[in-house]
Symmetry: C2
Subunit: 340 residues, 2 copies
DNA sequence: TTGTAAGCGTTATCAA
DNA sequence: TTGATAACGCTTACAA
């Protein structure tokens, strides 16, 4: 049992250094406004006591946390992990700390997390996607919380966002798929109701089909939660249907990897028997066999620039324009000509 | 430009409800100690004002944050993401919030993050691995911060830990590899100097070799940072050496996936031309082609039980024994007999 | 069951 | 350049 020693406070330091608490505070926050002599004395005292400022007290007094909150759907999705890593690094460079919370793709949980982070005094917020209740939007507006939406573009431009055109990107990919002669298409999509990215990608497929003169009936859609196994099971359902598709497009790479696994388990060869595509271009996309045709999204760049944009919103207090990043089609082995 | 409305405080709620601030506080924290009538009145006022308690103020007054901090090497590693997700869920169930920080595998950054989280009043800390400076260990002891170490076992039992025997697990896998007739082995390891898990796994390989009568010279080791590409490049170095190994063991699945990719790029067939093994059993291990032989670690269970153990340390203030979880060998297609 | 009032450890304003 | 001192918004004895 070690003796419980209370953390040293400003007062302890002040007493040891023979100055007032105000001076200690200044030595720590605005060192240039002190005589070199007292500054040294204070910093010595800080060191010998191992003093670290109490965060809560500092927040109360200064009404600033230097903290940014981010709420992502899940930590298990590599694209968010990658984007957040870059986001965090850029924030650190600017003296900010990142608080991460995850919503498990549940809107109610997201709301709760938003309120928690705001109560914790987050100076700004990074959110994913646009789907959000009016109540929570009003809350953020009323409280005047600088907020940036990422991984999607707010086409109405009613709030700052950084992302890419999910619909256009998916449409471009679908055009390629159709260009390979595929007519019976399928889409394994994330749950669309609460996920604007999923809806936009779905719409992109439809747009490409319409442009090519295909009807919406030529598309079978399976919605499923995130996860490799879910992708695999979705593929099952497609394959046991009356007229199986010749190409299966997936709303993200993880679902696509699952679909490819199941295809192999069913004795199918990709892309000879069925073409499969993804979205995101996570690392495994290139490692899969055959390599996955997908849409490359610059996640790390998005994270970095999201940090810059959010800080700009916070300091300038001016409206910062939305930032559109471009995506790249990555045509790899999993997409081939229709042979049926 | 919206009008900046300051967040409502306890006082606002109290005035609207016609009670004292103490009563509002009680209505929120110990509702059963109030008359149903006043409680309703207070909660109504809370709702109409959209009141949310100020976290910093609450912390200052109660000297408790209900916050647990976790510092992981990187968010990009799926094993930590998965473990933390479970950790967080279990904490939430118990009314705690998780703060995550990452150290980018840098000990200095880890120290800084520890100090940051402590200054923020983390009631407890989850740390990965044992490698830590005396200074920071002393700091944690002095401050009496409940701390749990995960993903490894503290064999000296000088502090509570939850994890598995990395050395024994890797040794068991190496025995299998040797049992397949491999004599020239290689190990692609994470940077060992600052990573006890990496060192333990390395030692496990050596122990298995010694037991089988092989000499340490029969093992070539390449140390490399985390990442698929790094695994691929490490494989390159091994393969262009004088006597390439017949089996390449990897310190984790991500390195192994990289190694398998490069092997394929070099025109090698796994396991005919070279066997490859991993460690962790992340999801892609089963999806890889051939599927990766690896060591299964119950990451989610570890996260869940880590939360329980840490809460136990915090409340009981008693020393909680270290928890050893068991691992499973997963023999899959990437390991085959030595044919050279 | 409810109210009063004293902190909690900083920062920031105002004087000196 | 430094020091007093009043906030900051909440919890929690202690009283009533």
């Amino acid at each position: 049992m070690s003796i419980l020693r209370p953390a040293p406070t400003l007062d302890d330091v002040a007493r040891l250094a023979g100055v007032s608490t105000a001076t200690v505070s200044r030595a720590l926050n605005v060192p240039d406004k002190l005589s070199a002599d007292t500054k040294d004395r204070v910093l010595d005292a800080v060191r010998t006591l191992g003093y670290a400022p109490n965060f809560a007290a500092r927040v109360m007094a200064s009404r600033k946390t230097n903290t940014i909150g981010a709420i992502i759907p899940t930590m298990e999705n590599a694209i968010f992990a990658q984007g957040l890593q870059a986001f965090q690094e850029e924030l650190r460079l600017n003296g900010y700390t990142l608080l991460v919370a995850s919503s498990a793709y549940d809107p109610n949980m997201e709301e709760e997390q938003i309120r928690t982070l705001v109560a914790r005094g987050a100076d700004g917020l990074l959110l994913i996607g646009l789907d959000r209740s009016d109540a929570i939007n009003a809350f953020l507006r009323d409280r005047n919380i600088p907020t940036l939406v990422a991984w999607t573009l707010d086409q109405t431009n009613s709030r700052p966002s950084i992302g890419f055109d999910n619909r256009a990107a998916m449409m471009a990919l679908a055009q390629k798929v159709i260009g390979f002669g595929h007519r019976r298409l399928a889409l394994i999509s994330a749950i669309a109701r609460t996920n604007d990215r999923a809806r936009a990608r779905w719409q992109g497929v439809l747009d490409a089909m319409e442009q090519a003169g295909l009807s919406a009936e030529d598309l079978t859609v399976v919605e499923t939660p995130y996860g490799i196994d879910n992708g695999a099971n979705a593929f099952d359902r497609l394959w046991t249907a009356d007229r199986p598709p010749t190409a299966v497009m997936c709303g993200n790479d993880v679902l696509a990897i699952g679909a490819m696994r199941r295809a192999r388990e069913l004795g199918l060869e990709v892309p000879r028997d069925v073409s499969i595509t993804g979205f995101d271009d996570i690392e495994i996309a290139q490692v899969a066999h055959p390599a996955l045709t997908t849409v490359h999204v610059p996640h790390a760049e998005m994270g970095r620039r999201a940090a810059q944009a959010l800080l700009a919103i916070m300091t300038k207090a001016a409206d910062v324009p939305s930032i559109a990043l471009s995506t790249d089609l990555k045509l790899r082995g999993s997409l081939g000509p229709n042979t049926r």
